[in-house]
Amino acid sequence: MNASISPTIRIQAADFDLAAEIAHLTAGRTDIGAVVTFTGLCRDEAGALTALELEHYPGMAQAEISRIAAEATVRWPLTGLTAIHRFGKIAPGENIVLVVAASTHRKAAFEAASFLMDYLKSRAPFWKKEHRADGSEGEWVEAKSADDDAAARWRQR
């Protein structure tokens, strides 16, 4: 365990730079063997959507993702952990979320990144509303039970 590592958590409207975030975790270090990144992007659902509007609960979004990240640093021996979640109007093809997990070994990096994403999906206070290409009133995206199941599997271990 690396009790000392302090995850970087950012909630922002602006896009992020994945390469810069990796460099931030790895620059000048020679003890990192594995870096796993997850990038979540906005899809247009076969042309039906022109954008997603991401609403969030500002104070809690930062606090909740920090809690999830802190749990990941306890469960896996990580050398670095970053999570960035965007809000506001995001067009198809644009980035929504980034997770970067660095570790000496690949299993820890893969599992921590996967855990963080599963928990973000079901516990981070963000909601997506569709902007539809046909001009009709967009729906709020419905939560998937598969996402709750994905988070629950980490409790059974």
């Binding site: 979540g40 991401l54 609403e55 969030h56 609960y57 104070g59 809690m60 979004a61 606090a63 909740e64 979640h85 929504i96 979320v97 994403m117 973000l120 999906k121 079901s122 516990r123 981070a124 206070p125 963000f126 909601w127 997506k128 509303k129 709020w140 995206v141 419905e142 939560a143 996402d147």
Partner: protein, 84 residues
């Protein structure tokens, strides 16, 4: 006074982002609060008609519907989350 915050379609149906409310003493738990709010008007009734799906946070932490609201500074009501 307690700050109530609403998000996503809960916010749209209630018609406001937040409000300050003086909660009566008999409203002890999150479940009580949802029932009490439903009687506050049509928007509230529509937003909270299926209380089981409503997620609640007290002071920016997830809680379940049996949680006491005693001492809550800020209570947020919202649909299941769809971030990530």
């Amino acid at each position: 006074m307690t700050t109530l915050k609403y998000f996503a379609w809960v916010r749209e149906r209630i018609g406001k982002r937040e409000e300050q409310l003086d909660l009566p003493a008999e409203v002890a738990t999150v479940g009580d609060l949802l029932t009490w709010l439903q009687a506050k008007g049509e928007g509230y009734a529509e937003a909270l008609k299926e209380p089981k799906v409503i997620r609640v946070a007290i002071n920016e932490e997830h809680v379940d519907h049996r949680e006491s609201i005693a001492g809550a500074r800020e209570i947020a009501l919202f649909p299941p989350m769809t971030g990530g």
